[in-house]
Symmetry: C2
Subunit: 208 residues, 2 copies
Amino acid sequence: MADSIPSRTHCPHRILAIAGSLRRDSINRLLLHAAAALAPQDVQVEVYDGLGTIPMFDEDNEEAVAIAGPVHTLARKVAAADALLIATPEYNHSMPGVLKNAIDWLSRGSVGDVLVGKPVAVIGASTGRWGTRLAQAALRQVLFATESVVLNGPAVYLANGGAAFDAQGRLINSAARASLEQVLGMLRQVPMARLAGSQPEPVPLADA
Amino acid sequence: MADSIPSRTHCPHRILAIAGSLRRDSINRLLLHAAAALAPQDVQVEVYDGLGTIPMFDEDNEEAVAIAGPVHTLARKVAAADALLIATPEYNHSMPGVLKNAIDWLSRGSVGDVLVGKPVAVIGASTGRWGTRLAQAALRQVLFATESVVLNGPAVYLANGGAAFDAQGRLINSAARASLEQVLGMLRQVPMARLAGSQPEPVPLADA
């Protein structure tokens, strides 16, 4: 499918990368910066850094919050991206509430249903030995609910993540670098949302 | 176990009830108010209404936020309660980010590990036909991670919840009322945290 897209070198794939933690030195944020550094020329990775400004979802003030400010900005970034790359920490066997809250917003008609049909790759790193397996599983289920296109591909469950980065925050674990490169190769294959003019239609629900 | 606790009628079980949505007219909040109204004399249900004041969890400012303000207040309420009753809506096949964020806070040592060993009953209502089944399943998994004691008992998956309440917000669905009464009966059996003087020890982890 990617072969049929013209002028790829002049029109790079745009990937919006979101870390699920607010911590400044989050290893999941470092992982996304590593992805940005490893990206081939025709893949642009923007690491989003506004998650801490997204207010808590409240249906009572949804309409007012959705049309301006940080929620609107994030939704427009998601809409403009060809795909998302989400790196989630694991808090209590799931994704952080902070990340889920942002997804709750993005799933709403009030911000334009921007997750519907959006390709998403999920990765994650932990300092412990499980590498965010349960958080990623929970997130994939949520992205199924939002009718996003969860990409299959190399699993990135980076365990013992503290040792994977050097003092400057660069990813030095070669297996993790190779996996990230595979993920970037996968993201390079997604259809370009803005060239296609529209996102793929979701599969219609059976009237069960 | 409850039979061995003295002076029960003079010392009611204290249940802290938390609705997972911020919406003022949330049917999950209505469900908790119904539980409070149905509670027998020796069970006190306090419906917590501060969820909207809990800031997003950020490890970078965790220590400062944990020791005062709304996070500290909620943690003290949880610590003082004999059990929790959580009514969760379902957002995207899971609990709202807002609720998960509060649990992320409560799971931390900085607020006193107040969820460890805490009995919790999970219920939920939706206006649709699934009654928050996936949200409750996700929440139970999270509460397993926090080493809380998830109570077995009557399932409350209130579907088509809009029709279950009257114009004054009173629960008029008799099956739902009966189920809530069963849940309250179950909550009446939990050990009293403050009489026992301490919460049950969590099961030690095997050194796997």
